[in-house]
Symmetry: C2
Subunit: 253 residues, 2 copies
């Protein structure tokens, strides 16, 4: 029996990306400047429409690659050089979230190491990393279109806030913070990731004891580096463990 799709309301489905990285000791998100109405000239999260025969995760990985050149990382495979963590975040479907039409957006969260260059994607629009506070602390008081301090387009401030909160809580009980680091990194670099994401200062000695004492979190590569200045530090790679038990504790307040 043939089926009549017109019996059900039609929606457009898009994926939006919260791509986070740590740059210069602060948590940054990828933002693109919109070249078209609505919200023309305003900053927004990267994203796009899902294709007719494309799974949601595939669409998100495609958008991520288009914007950053990063590959989505399948956790079952060894980590390729240019890999980012990618996971589904949440879905936003307020009927009025897009003034053009009914769009349901499946937001995804990507965590990437600091990239050599914030390369613009295939499209010619501008792309940049911006500290998440600067993207979120926008009252709209100066919100003329095109103003760099205008709020993010659509409901993207909400999506970004949800993504940041997911990242903040997830590095507590998983080894996901290593997704912000290059393949080889030091304990100090990992600590600065936690400090940037949580916005707190951590005790280097207790942090060192905790991460080196958690089985499977870090594996030493044998090398050392002195790129941070001071005494040379051991280099590590991410170990096989994905869940930290007991978790890293985020300091109060």
């Amino acid at each position: 029996m043939p089926y009549d799709p017109s019996a059900f309301p039609a929606f457009a489905v898009s994926v939006d990306l919260v791509v986070l990285t740590v740059r210069r000791h602060s948590l940054c998100a990828l933002a693109v400047r919109r070249g078209e109405s609505p919200f023309k000239g305003r900053w927004a999260l990267p994203g796009g429409f899902v294709r007719p025969d494309e799974d949601l995760a595939v669409a998100a990985a495609r958008e991520l690659a288009e914007e950053t050149g990063l590959l989505a990382h399948d956790p079952t495979l060894p980590v390729p050089p240019n890999a980012a963590h990618l996971e589904q975040l949440a879905t936003y479907g307020d009927p009025k979230r897009d003034p053009r039409m009914r769009v349901v957006s499946v937001a995804h969260l990507a965590l990437a190491p600091d990239l050599p260059a914030p390369r613009a994607g295939g499209d010619a629009h501008s792309v940049r990393w911006a500290p998440v506070e600067s993207l979120l602390d926008r009252e709209g008081a100066f919100g003329r279109d095109g103003d760099l301090a205008a709020p993010l387009a659509f409901d993207h401030a909400r999506i970004l806030a949800d993504g940041v909160e997911r990242a903040r809580s997830k590095i507590e009980y998983s080894s996901l913070a290593t997704a912000f680091c290059p393949q080889e990194f030091t304990v100090g670099e990992l600590r600065r990731v936690y400090e940037a994401v949580w916005g707190v200062a951590l005790d280097p000695r207790n942090f060192h004891r905790k991460v080196t004492g958690t089985p499977g979190f870090l594996v030493p590569t044998g090398g050392t580096t002195t790129r941070q200045g001071g005494r040379p530090a051991q280099l590590f790679r991410a170990g096989g463990a994905t869940l930290l038990n007991p978790p890293m504790l985020r300091p109060e307040v």
Copy 2:
């Protein structure tokens, strides 16, 4: 400038519900029997299409009320008598997940106290509570259509498994387990909720110490009850705290 929606692929968007409760010391989920093709006669999760001007959370709350009579619980308001916890779970959009057409389903998770009657919804189809293991442990070896032991329709086994895992982990660090209890409950009843959801036995003495010692988790109502047999137990209501810090620890293995 008018906008042409036909420029983008059209999707149907539905909400599916993982409704969990604890009955007779085991974790159960709500299942409905499908009256139509595809998967006619098979068990499935309750759900339905999102209406053209309906937010996703509203659609989920509407489906929940239709199937169970439960109201979704806005956490900012005092808990009404027939309230359930409702939250978004994840979104499933495999192009082949529904043989009829491209359907993206936004799954939601609802936690409800044990209901007086598993009342059938407005539709005349049959509805029942089933232990989650019995819904998930179906190899499909006996999977003729209509067979009670056939796997769940569509990708609903996956959705149910994800919902159960979300509930299992979320009661660790939040006070959500109280959503499985009536408005007034004893420490022992709350402990049996944890035991049913996790499938483990907990030490009654350590559990009592933990939950009564966590500020804001439980507030005594002053009453006592003996409905479980044995010594009368104090009655509590859920306190204002939503996050448990430190969390309840799920026993190893």
